[in-house]
Symmetry: D2
Subunit: 346 residues, 4 copies
Amino acid sequence: MDVSIIGGSGYGGGELLRILLQHPEVRVKQVTSRRFAGHPVAHVHPNLRSLARLDFCRPDDLSPCDLLFVGLPNGESMRVMPGLMNLAPKIIDLGADFRLRSPELWKSWYGFEHAAPELMGRFVTGIPEILDDRIRGADLVAGPGCEAVAAILGLYPPVRRGLILPAPVIIDAKMGSSQSGSASSSASHHPERAGAVRTYRPAGHRHAAEIEQLLGGYIPNLRVDITATAVEMVRGALATIHVYLRDGAAEKEIWAAYRQDYAGRPFVRLVKQASGLYRMPEPKILQGTNFCEIGFALDPRCPRLVIVSAIDNLVKGTAGNAVQCMNLMCGFPETAGLGFPGLHPV
Amino acid sequence: MDVSIIGGSGYGGGELLRILLQHPEVRVKQVTSRRFAGHPVAHVHPNLRSLARLDFCRPDDLSPCDLLFVGLPNGESMRVMPGLMNLAPKIIDLGADFRLRSPELWKSWYGFEHAAPELMGRFVTGIPEILDDRIRGADLVAGPGCEAVAAILGLYPPVRRGLILPAPVIIDAKMGSSQSGSASSSASHHPERAGAVRTYRPAGHRHAAEIEQLLGGYIPNLRVDITATAVEMVRGALATIHVYLRDGAAEKEIWAAYRQDYAGRPFVRLVKQASGLYRMPEPKILQGTNFCEIGFALDPRCPRLVIVSAIDNLVKGTAGNAVQCMNLMCGFPETAGLGFPGLHPV
Amino acid sequence: MDVSIIGGSGYGGGELLRILLQHPEVRVKQVTSRRFAGHPVAHVHPNLRSLARLDFCRPDDLSPCDLLFVGLPNGESMRVMPGLMNLAPKIIDLGADFRLRSPELWKSWYGFEHAAPELMGRFVTGIPEILDDRIRGADLVAGPGCEAVAAILGLYPPVRRGLILPAPVIIDAKMGSSQSGSASSSASHHPERAGAVRTYRPAGHRHAAEIEQLLGGYIPNLRVDITATAVEMVRGALATIHVYLRDGAAEKEIWAAYRQDYAGRPFVRLVKQASGLYRMPEPKILQGTNFCEIGFALDPRCPRLVIVSAIDNLVKGTAGNAVQCMNLMCGFPETAGLGFPGLHPV
Amino acid sequence: MDVSIIGGSGYGGGELLRILLQHPEVRVKQVTSRRFAGHPVAHVHPNLRSLARLDFCRPDDLSPCDLLFVGLPNGESMRVMPGLMNLAPKIIDLGADFRLRSPELWKSWYGFEHAAPELMGRFVTGIPEILDDRIRGADLVAGPGCEAVAAILGLYPPVRRGLILPAPVIIDAKMGSSQSGSASSSASHHPERAGAVRTYRPAGHRHAAEIEQLLGGYIPNLRVDITATAVEMVRGALATIHVYLRDGAAEKEIWAAYRQDYAGRPFVRLVKQASGLYRMPEPKILQGTNFCEIGFALDPRCPRLVIVSAIDNLVKGTAGNAVQCMNLMCGFPETAGLGFPGLHPV
């Protein structure tokens, strides 16, 4: 099967390439980059030196393919999507443009009118652990934001059973530097960013909308608030989720919820060890993998539940999750191309 | 004035030495270390190579002095404190043993009986920004835990005015590696600790008791929950405090509360910039300083308040704060010895 | 084919497991660990959570297998090797005990008598890029030290052609923290090791003996001196090699030497770009891979050559290189199990 | 005394401000920045929040002062210097423009004609440990490059006694990220720069010219080659200097040379411990200080000497060293304003 990538010079595009170039079922046909058109992909992604003999092409040179990954800046994807739909029967969008399903919701969070409101409802949210049946039949899939992936997977089992109170759900997200993309800025300048513990979004984080949209059906008036802090790592996202339990919900019940919902899910790992160094989920050892690790703890004094969910923001948070969606959409084994287990130590 | 330090080979003791050796009003008389007795302090604290000509002595060799800093492991200080009180008219304890004022509270959080319950109520909590009058007259001061310092200073203005709801107060603390002390362990082994975002205390953190004890008088039934995560930095603590506002509390009112309560306080800085890289408090640039930076943000959608409070856990969180207490207790200028402004970049 | 690992709880053993558990031609039969016998391997190597259902066993419980990897501390392997040779027809030793071929050389560098001098000459040095023919026919292979791998591959083409002067060859090695193993110590304590640029072996590094032994045949009186500095990374080794050219050696000739000697070698990459961020070899993007990247520069003022060689010390420097040797010894494709291309950014 | 700073928004300017704002003998009159004119200095240097009530001004608004620090990009200082000399009777230049004393040498290393050749010979090289007498009487001082400071101080004692061979002197420099300045670039983008061990200047480093210029008088034909590698730290420079001893030079003799030459020098520390974690010089604990730590080791097999010299590139490598020069030029105590001892751990 031929796949192409629009916007392949960023970090998400690089990870897509790494995974797809070793995927047993696909051939990477074209990869676009306005800035690097004509240059070898390994010039931008040096880890692909031995893997890729591919050059970037211009977006205008894109020819039809079987499935197209779209990695464009917010606001750009919505403008070109109708045209792209003529190029490929299946599209996976990695950006924000088709994550929300209502034009009003879009405008309230992003501050401008959506340019393709008629398409918004046609994209399936790309969370294979929850929406696999819908993804299998889908032609259009929108990959969620990386904080949203971690948070939704962490919240889904207790939320859908009504084990927690609707408000407040507070997500304290710790994010690595690759999260802000491959373009340098004064904020990403190493002397300023190294060792930082920087509250870059104390409130009003847009990914809250995606989480409320997906989980709001289970708990009326579910309110999700995200505080995002940049910490010293390149890859990784850790969502510390603070919620309150409904009366009567016990640890056993919570365990059962997670075990039941994620039984057979190849990329979800429940991590809650009594000993060892890695007792709770940690992004450090997930670098390069498509795993989401989930753990939790109950407060001994009150019905507070702390859920901890860890991913690699560029893999399960972006490229790997998109390939997992592709695998479902195309009838490939769900884990095809996603076998890297991660490193330790790292 | 002659001061001595019991337990001077740890990180807190090293910082005490660094500050006291340049303090204009004191002379460091003795520093004890069982393990390093007879060795120069610079052997353990290499930054003191040019500053200190002092050797560690054994605890038994301690002679009387004017003020004694006590940095002993939990449970040890309470056993030797009556004896130490014969050595010095003023004592500042850096450990946990005299932070709580009730034996019952102690036992419920620390799991064993307090050995000197009669002394518990005699120690004044060492938070100069709030209890300066009591510290000025005190002979016995207990320095609070580093998370407690950051959290209490961040919470005090809105709490004492009743601007926030009593529950839940969730403190999501990001901590550097020096917080766990100078003894190596498998958890502190560099290949395992580097780049970690590790939830080492998801619930039940003991410093919550100190915060509730001090602030509980302002809001009945105040409940504080701490989730602590180790992140990649050596020094620093950032408390992200999630609270809910009472109806009607506006940003202006919150600003006024902080400004009023911390007017003239030399070590509290309110940080809430509209531009620049360091818009919110950040421990990175506070390394080595006695500052506590405090900022906040209101959620645009609801009456949620996110307070962010940053310190150097070894300075404002331990040694610097103790020297600030000493300055008050002894009538020195509050800032004496604490003038280091911090570095940038770092 | 059944393979077993003696000493599987260290970092090298963990990487062997990661690679072998996904190797298409082998089954991991047993893994020993005195300390963790009876525990799942994923308890020690959390990246193997989804991959391994294996428990560590005691060394005494080892049963025969087709090939045995030996990862024991220096001095221990030599004592048990005769016994191990009864358990498996092929053995790959990852430690230092069988790297040198002469008992006298051993004693002069390691300070004690070798316990199995009769076996020393029977081990083939495990550098597939240079000794592939001998490794193919070997039953006993000794994996070289990680600095030696990087240095030998960097030096081999110019040395064997006599392009450089015999002395001095100065190797300035920059090493990550995993190089010192998985046991914690005060030197590996995160607050001390983080951000360090620490000259831990200014002179007299033992790996020099391996390099001189292998390359000394090409240049009489070859002298190699290593200065080793620990820098802030977990994985990786960079050898900066300072040599002087014989008169007349030109850049073109040096290029040709590298290109010719490493043509068709799947794990050597020549890196010498005029632009881009990764113009010279860099261990950062090699984490988890079996690649050795080699580059060089000529001093514009004199016939000085700077060779730069980068590897992941745990993969091409240890476990991956050993698997590459196994592949040759057993007639498997040289790259089997070693396809991970590495991550970017990371 | 009134001092002003031209080019105060960079990292060197920020450190000058930090030091000068607490200097007992001077008042900071003006600080210029084209980009930030009108903004408070603390907006750019957040560590100065409590220290500085100063705004940046435009270079054109500069008025006369007693001493002027010039921190301008290479090539710019030489053009404005004649004008600046009318503003202040004493000038300390922190850039490269007046480090070399010959226009020909300048052109051969920097590739363009010097614009003020008549001034080149009038600047005294700002290395107080070697040229203090000349600095005391100087009006114009040129601060050396940070690698040059570390290397010259490390080499001076053995070189001036002729203890080492004239060639080769190889300096393998490990540099922190602040070395490349405060402007962001793709190379300084955190995901690319974090954890890097990047050979950014394998040969031909310009600071070699300064070292040869100063030390060449002691050893005819002295040749210095620098290879520079960026490592993961923000502040710091470590020069590993590989030299060969003349016959007969013994460890005792080398020790004596260092001890004698640096006796009474307040900012040079000889570090060569048999035990402890910090046995050799290390930039980690020098952050923020004006110290240069120097140590060495002899190769047990041959007359090779490894000298290790560590500084904070922004302090002893730039701003602190410049203030030390100012202290000498103005008759202040040499250590005035430079008392910060550094932190541990950090």
